[in-house]
């Protein structure tokens, strides 16, 4: 019985939201309400998630396990930020500057590491993926794309050369659309399987 109620609730909620796109005027109030409930639940799940995070680090520090020093830093930073956040309003210039002056340099340094990693990864792509048609085409197309985007080749507008260049520049866009269509189709099937009750990850095994 419990199983049927769960499946029915999940399916009916999903199908109502889906129908809301088709019958926008008739179902606007109901879908609005359901979406608000959904946002509220997701927000609550986020808070519970932060609770897990806090508990995990607290347990690690309490038992002085491997990595407890890092956990201690996380806990102190978390408590200080939450503490100050309770006393100062979110638009406080001091609070915003204080958080952003830590967050932005850390995130920027991660991006810098990523840039270097990507550079080395692209240089050793043949070692990673071998001499395959895919890896060789990737290298050649990346090289052509780089050269074209340097704008050294500038044929006169309206000539065959300009049209050819435009065609080559638009090729990655075609590939991108192909991948996006594939992802959309896959996403559609995954969503429908949950809506139709064929996939029930929320359900107990018993």
């Amino acid at each position: 019985m419990k199983r049927i109620i769960v499946i029915l609730t999940a399916s009916l909620t999903g199908l109502t939201i889906l129908a809301g796109y088709f019958f926008q005027t008739q179902l606007a109030n109901l879908t609005g309400l359901l979406i608000e409930w959904g946002i509220l639940l997701v927000g609550l799940a986020g808070v519970i998630g932060v609770g897990y995070l806090f508990k995990m680090h607290l347990v690690r520090v309490a038992h002085w396990q491997k990595g407890s020093l890092l956990s201690l830093i996380v806990l102190v930073a978390f408590l200080v930020t939450v503490g100050i956040g309770f006393f100062l309003p979110p638009d406080s210039a001091f609070f915003r500057n204080w958080v952003l002056n830590i967050q932005i340099p850390v995130e920027t340094s991660l991006l810098a590491i990523l840039a270097v990693t990507m550079l080395f990864a692209s240089l050793r792509i043949i070692r990673t993926r071998g001499w395959t048609l895919m890896s060789v085409s990737f290298l050649i197309s990346a090289l052509i794309s780089l050269i074209l985007n340097l704008h050294y080749l500038n044929p006169a507008i309206g000539t065959a050369g300009a049209e050819w260049l435009e065609f080559v520049r638009r090729l990655p866009l075609a590939g991108l659309r192909g991948i996006l269509i594939g992802i959309a189709l896959g996403g559609l099937i995954v969503g429908l399987r949950v809506l139709l009750g064929m996939d029930r990850p929320y359900e107990d095994e018993s």
Binding site: Y52, M56, K66, I179, L185, G186, M198, D199
Partner: protein, 244 residues
């Protein structure tokens, strides 16, 4: 016919195909599963990691939902259910990591449902950070503490998560990715050999758990893909001929 109506036709067709094949496959032979070397390598390396006492880390993404890729979070949860079912005895060495509260909550529900009374949340589910950057930094720190035997990325990511796979390989672990978005796939293409791209991502659960509903999803997706290709070719031809 408007684009919205075309969309509804595709959705309707997908529903009909799913229901029809699900019914058909519960009674008759299943749809043959295509071999995917990347998935085979991932499954083998996971077993090797579990047998060697190393961790098999499954990362479920840094977002549950996004407007551009709405189903990636659901897909990650679906994969995690298949992975747990595939190795139910590997509770201690199979670690699931999530980057948002809701993903970790849903993943916990799946793990609790599978392990029942034997489940301990301290063992195998971690939320390393509530925002994408915090998640990544936290996960890299976790990798420093426990060398992984294999790392699998599923769900929604940005290009930054290529660092996770790079770190896994540096520590001698096997890396596998079946993850979006487009920018993430481009970055992951450079860092791992075993990568699923585009619609291949969503075929993954069917390779691990050959239930009728997953086989029905496979054949429905295949039919829709062929139909879409045919429609695009016809539309391109008609545009060239000046009809459209």
């Amino acid at each position: 016919m408007t684009w919205t109506e075309i969309g509804w036709v595709i959705i309707g067709l997908a529903v009909v195909l799913l229901l029809f094949f699900n019914l058909l496959f519960t009674r008759r032979d299943w749809y043959p599963v295509r071999v995917n070397p990347a998935v085979n390598a991932f499954v083998k390396q996971r077993v090797r990691a579990l047998e060697g006492g190393k961790q098999s880390q499954v990362v479920l993404g840094n977002r549950f939902w996004s407007r551009a890729y709405p189903a990636l979070g659901l897909h990650a949860l679906s994969v995690s259910a298949s992975l747990v079912k595939a190795d139910p005895g590997a509770q201690e060495t199979q670690v699931f990591a999530a980057g948002t509260g809701e993903l970790s909550l849903f993943a916990r529900q799946i793990l609790c449902g599978t392990y029942q009374d034997g489940y301990s949340s301290a063992l195998n589910l971690i939320l390393t950070g509530p925002t994408p950057h915090a998640f990544m930094a936290g996960f890299l720190a976790e990798m420093g503490l426990h060398s992984p035997g294999s790392v699998g990325l599923f769900g929604h990511y940005g290009p930054m998560e290529a660092l996770i796979l790079e770190a896994a390989q540096m520590k001698g672990g096997h890396s596998f990715a079946a993850a979006g978005s487009i920018s993430a796939q481009a970055a992951l293409f450079l860092t791992t050999r075993d990568l699923l791209i585009g619609e291949e991502i969503f075929l993954l659960p069917g390779l691990m758990d050959r239930s009728p509903s997953l086989q029905a999803a496979w054949i429905s997706e295949d039919i829709l893909r062929v139909l879409m290709i045919a429609l695009l070719v016809i539309a391109a031809g008609l545009t060239l001929a000046g009809v459209l």
